[in-house]
Symmetry: C2
C-alpha cells in the first residue's frame, strides 16, 4: 500500500478507500474553487447543497431506492436510532424484535420504554452464534413492525434470508453490512445504518424510510430531533447536519458506483470472506465462532480457545501490520472486520500471517 | 491568503484556521505513523483515545474549567440540546428562559414539552435587537435553572453581563461565541455550544456540565442518548462519538492555546468588531441592526433599509471574494460573522469594499 498504511481490521470506525481519502485531502483547503473547505461551508450554500443532493441521488441509484422512500442523515448513531425507531413507528405500541446479540438487545431494551416488545425469536441458547429460524414467527396482529439487526457485528452473524413478517413492516439495522451487497429496499419499511463501519466517518446514521411511516406528531414529549419527520420534511437540514460525513459518504457512494456498485461489492466480499473462512475451517489452531449458515461476510469472528494465545496473536499481528484483530471486549476472542474498503490482498496477507503463526504455535 | 481562499462570513459552519486545515490535510492518509486516517480509527484505539484526552485537557486549560465539571461531546446539535437541557435539568419541572431571538425561542418551545416555562425577560418589543435587563428577574423559588442564549447569531446581540439568577443554576447556549472570550465557568451550571461556528465542523456540541446536575434516571421515556449522564459516565463514548469533530476541535484548541488563548482572542475580536461597527456608525448607507449596548462581537448585523440594495451588496461582495454576507432568511438584511478564525485583514478588506460600494451607490 502507498503511504505505509496498515491493514485495519477494526469493526468500526474502519477503513475507507484510499482514493477517497486522497480526494478529500486534495480538496481540504479549497473545495473546487469555492475558496473554502467543506467543513467551513454553510449547509445552506449552493456548494454544499450540491454535495448533499449528489449524495442522496447516488445512494438512491446504488440501492435502487424507490421514490416513496426518504433518505435521511441523522446524528446520534445507533443509540439514537434504537429510541427513534419505536418513538416513530409504534403507533399501536406493539413491536416484535429478533434477538441475535448485543445490538438487537440494546434495541430491545430501548424499545421497551415506548411500548410492548415481543421477542419473537432468539439465538441466546447458543450465545448468539447463529441467526434463528424466522420463517414462521408468532407476530401479534397489531404489531407495528418486526425489527432485526441484519448483521450482528460482535458475534459475526448475518441473515441469509429475511424474516417472514407476515405483512408487517420490517425494520433493519444494517450498520455493519450497509452497501456490502444488494438488498431489495421494498422488502423494508425502514433501514438504518451507522455509516462508520462500511461507508464513512462516525457521527451519522443513514435512515431510509417509507414515506407512509412518517408522522408529524409522535407524542407530546418527543424531542423535535427524534422525529423522523423533522428530518424528512427538511431534507435532513432542519438543523445543521453532519456536513462532513455527508461529504465523505457521498464520495464513497461515487467510488462504489464507479467500481460496479453493490453487486461488485458482494462478489468481492464473498471472495474475501471465503479466503478467511476456508482457512479457519481447516485450521487446527483457530476456529470460526459463528455457525456455517449464519456467517457474516463483514465481521469474521474466531478464536483459538485459549485467551492467552488469542492475546499473543493480536499482539504479533499488530506488530506485523494487521491492526484491531481483538474481539469485542464483551465476548473476547478474535475478529477480523473486512468491510468493502478492505482489499482482498489484506485478507490474503492476514491468512498468510495466521498460517505462519499457527505453524509457530503448534 | 494562500490557496486562493475566500473571506467567508458565514454564520456557521464557518472559517477554520488555515494552519489547522493544513495539518488535517497532511495527516489524512496516515495519522502520525498509525497507518490510518483518523476517520478510520476505532474510537477505542490508543491513538484515538489520546486525541480525545488531549482535546478534553486542552479545553479544560483554555476555559479554566474546574474539576467538578464534565466535558461532553454530544451529537444532534442545538436542536438536540434544546430538549436535553429540560429533560435532564428539570427536576422540579420548572425553568426560566430569557427570550432574545430565534434560538432562545426554539429552546423555549422545546422546554415546554417537559415542564413549566417562565419567560422572565424578553426583547421581543424591539424585534430582539437588544439584551433585556436581567438584573432583577422574577424567578420562582423552585425553578431548576435560568436559560439564556448568550449570543443570538441571527440578530447579532450578546450579553455584556450575565443575568442575576438569584442563586439558581445558569444554563447558557454559547454556540456562536464559544471560546471567543474568557468566561468564568463557575458562574454556570451548564454551558453548551454547537462547535460548527467558532470551533470546528458541524455535527457535535460541547457540553460543560457541573457534576451535581447529572442524574442517572431522567424518566422512563427518555432515550439513553438524551441523558447527559450516559455521556458523562462513559467519557463521551457510550457509543461511537463524532470522532472526526473531536479531532478537529482538538486541533483548534491547540491552535488557540498557542496563540494566546481566549484572552488573546477577545482582544482580537474586539478590534475586529470595532473596525466594522465604527464604519457602520458613520456610514450613510449601512446601519447596524443591534443596539449599541448589546452588539455581538461575532455576528455583526446591518442593513441598508432597502432590500434590493442589500441584495445588490451581497452579490457584488461575493464577486469580490466576500462570501455569505446575507442576513438570516428569517429576518433579511445583512450579516458578517467574524469568528475567531476570520483574520482582521478580512474585516478590513470588507470595510474597504463597503466604503467603495457606498461611494458607488450614494
Amino acid at each position: 500500500m502507498k503511504y505505509d498504511r496498515t491493514y485495519n481490521f477494526s469493526a468500526g470506525p474502519a477503513m475507507m478507500p484510499e482514493e477517497v481519502l486522497e480526494e478529500i485531502r486534495d480538496e481540504m483547503l479549497n473545495y473546487r474553487g469555492t475558496g473554502m473547505c467543506v467543513m467551513e461551508m454553510s449547509h445552506r450554500s449552493k456548494a454544499f447543497l450540491a454535495i448533499y443532493e449528489e449524495a442522496v441521488a447516488d445512494l438512491k441509484k446504488l440501492m435502487n431506492i424507490p421514490d416513496n422512500y426518504k433518505i435521511l442523515f441523522v446524528q446520534g448513531g445507533g443509540t439514537m436510532e434504537f429510541a427513534m425507531v419505536p418513538m416513530n413507528l409504534m403507533k399501536n405500541g406493539v413491536a416484535c424484535y429478533v434477538e441475535t446479540g448485543t445490538w438487537s438487545k440494546k434495541a430491545i431494551a430501548e424499545a421497551k420504554k415506548f411500548g410492548e416488545v415481543n421477542v419473537v425469536a432468539s439465538s441466546k441458547d447458543k450465545d448468539y452464534t447463529y441467526i434463528p429460524d424466522c420463517s414462521n414467527l408468532d407476530i401479534p396482529e397489531n404489531a407495528d413492525y418486526v425489527y432485526i439487526c441484519e448483521n450482528e457485528t460482535i458475534n459475526g452473524i448475518t441473515y441469509q434470508q429475511l424474516p417472514n413478517t407476515k405483512g408487517h413492516v420490517l425494520v433493519s439495522d444494517q450498520s455493519s453490512m450497509f452497501l456490502s451487497r444488494p438488498c431489495n429496499v421494498e422488502d423494508y419499511g425502514l433501514i438504518w445504518a451507522g455509516v462508520q463501519k462500511n461507508v464513512g466517518p462516525a457521527g451519522m446514521a443513514v435512515v431510509i424510510i417509507r414515506e407512509d411511516l412518517l408522522r408529524e406528531d409522535i407524542g407530546p414529549k418527543a424531542p423535535v430531533y427524534c422525529n423522523y419527520n423533522t428530518h424528512a420534511a427538511n431534507d435532513s437540514m432542519y438543523n445543521t447536519p453532519n456536513c462532513w460525513a455527508i461529504y465523505c459518504v457521498g464520495k464513497v457512494f461515487k467510488y462504489l458506483l464507479k467500481n460496479g456498485g453493490v453487486e461488485a461489492m458482494e462478489k468481492k466480499n464473498i471472495e474475501k470472506a471465503a479466503v478467511l473462512y476456508d482457512y479457519l475451517d481447516q485450521s487446527k489452531l483457530f476456529k470460526a465462532s459463528a455457525e456455517a449458515g449464519s456467517r457474516s461476510l463483514m465481521n469474521v469472528t474466531f478464536r483459538t480457545g485459549d485467551d492467552e494465545m488469542d492475546a499473543k496473536f493480536v499482539k504479533e499481528a499488530k506488530a506485523a501490520g494487521f491492526d484491531n484483530l481483538k474481539g469485542h471486549r464483551s465476548i473476547g476472542g478474535l475478529r477480523a472486520s473486512i468491510y468493502n474498503a478492505m482489499p482482498k490482498e489484506g485478507v490474503e496477507a492476514l491468512v498468510a500471517f495466521m498460517k505462519k503463526f499457527e505453524a509457530e504455535n503448534e
